[in-house]
Symmetry: C2
Subunit: 188 residues, 2 copies
Amino acid sequence: MPHIPLDENLPGITGLLNYRQDTALPIRQLTQILLRGESTLTPGERELIATVTSQGNQCRFCTAAHSAAADAWYGDRLTTEMVKTDLVNAPVSEKMKSLLEIARRVQADARTVSTELVEKARQQGATDMEIHDTVLIAALFCLYNKYVDGLASVTPDEPEFYDRLAGILKNKGYLPSPDRYASLNETK
Amino acid sequence: MPHIPLDENLPGITGLLNYRQDTALPIRQLTQILLRGESTLTPGERELIATVTSQGNQCRFCTAAHSAAADAWYGDRLTTEMVKTDLVNAPVSEKMKSLLEIARRVQADARTVSTELVEKARQQGATDMEIHDTVLIAALFCLYNKYVDGLASVTPDEPEFYDRLAGILKNKGYLPSPDRYASLNETK
C-alpha cells in the first residue's frame, strides 16, 4: 500500500505524477526532452538506458515499464532481455554497450564512471552530448526509481499492464495529455 | 577533469546546467518549486534534506553547496553539522529527524522506507505532502549528485566558494537569472 493516498487506478509513477502536478510538469518535460527530443540516440536506445538504470535500482515498476517501452521501439523483446541479462552479447552497438555500462555505474556509484570507460565509449563513436545525455538519463531514472519505491506506489503484476503503458509512452510521449491513462486499466 | 568540455569558470553543477540549458530549465524549475515554493517546511529544512541526500551519495560538491545553503537559512553552522554527524542530538524537530531519516533511506535504497518510519513521522506531525516532498527532494538530489559526479565536474576546495554559491541560491533561488554566477569566482 502506498505511503500516501494515491488514485488506485493509477499505479506506479502515474499516481505520483497525478498527486502533485506542479512538480510533475518539469519532470515530464525533462523526460520528454531527454527520451524523445532531438538526439543521435534512438528512442529505443534511450529507453534501454532507462531500463538498465531501473534494473540496477531494483525498481520493479520502472524496469517493467521501460523494458516494455524499449520493446515497443525495437519491435522485439529479445534486445531488451539480452541487454538486461547478457549485455556483452546483446544485439546493440559496441557504443551502446559502453554507454549502458556508464549508465549502470551512474546508478551504482556515479564516482566510478572512469576516464577509461568514457574514452572507450568515445573511441566507439560516442559524442560528448551522447555521454552527457546517458549520464543525465541515468540520473533522471534514479529520481523516478526512488520516487516510485520511496512512496511504495503499487506495482501491477500483469505484463499486459506494462504493454498498455508502453503503448501510451510510445504514442503520446511523456508530456501531459488529455485522457492520457484512459486505456491503462482496460481488460480485454 | 570533467568527462566533457565544461566552462572552467563554472564548477560542479553550474557548468553542467550551462552545458545543456534546455534540460537545465525543467531541473531548475523542479528545484525552485520543491525548495523555495509554498510549503509547510522551511527553506532551511528543505536544504537539510538536500544535504543529507548528497552526503549519503558522497557527492562532495552538492554536500558542501547545500550545507552552506542550509547554514545561510539557519544563520549558523551548528545545525547542519549536527544533522550530518549526530542527527539524534541535532537541534531540529523530531518530525524533521524522521523526515531526514526517510531521505537517507530514499538515497540508500528507496525500498527501505518502511510503513513504520512513515507512521512515526506522521505521529510527529508530518503531513502527506511533507512526506511526499521529502521523498521527491531526496530523489531529485540523487539526480543532481549522479549528474555532478557521473561527469566528473570540478569540486572546488575553498569553503568560501560554497558560501558565495549559497548566497546566490538564497538570494536568487534556483531559476535562471541574468549574471547569475557573476560573483561566484570573485576573490577578496
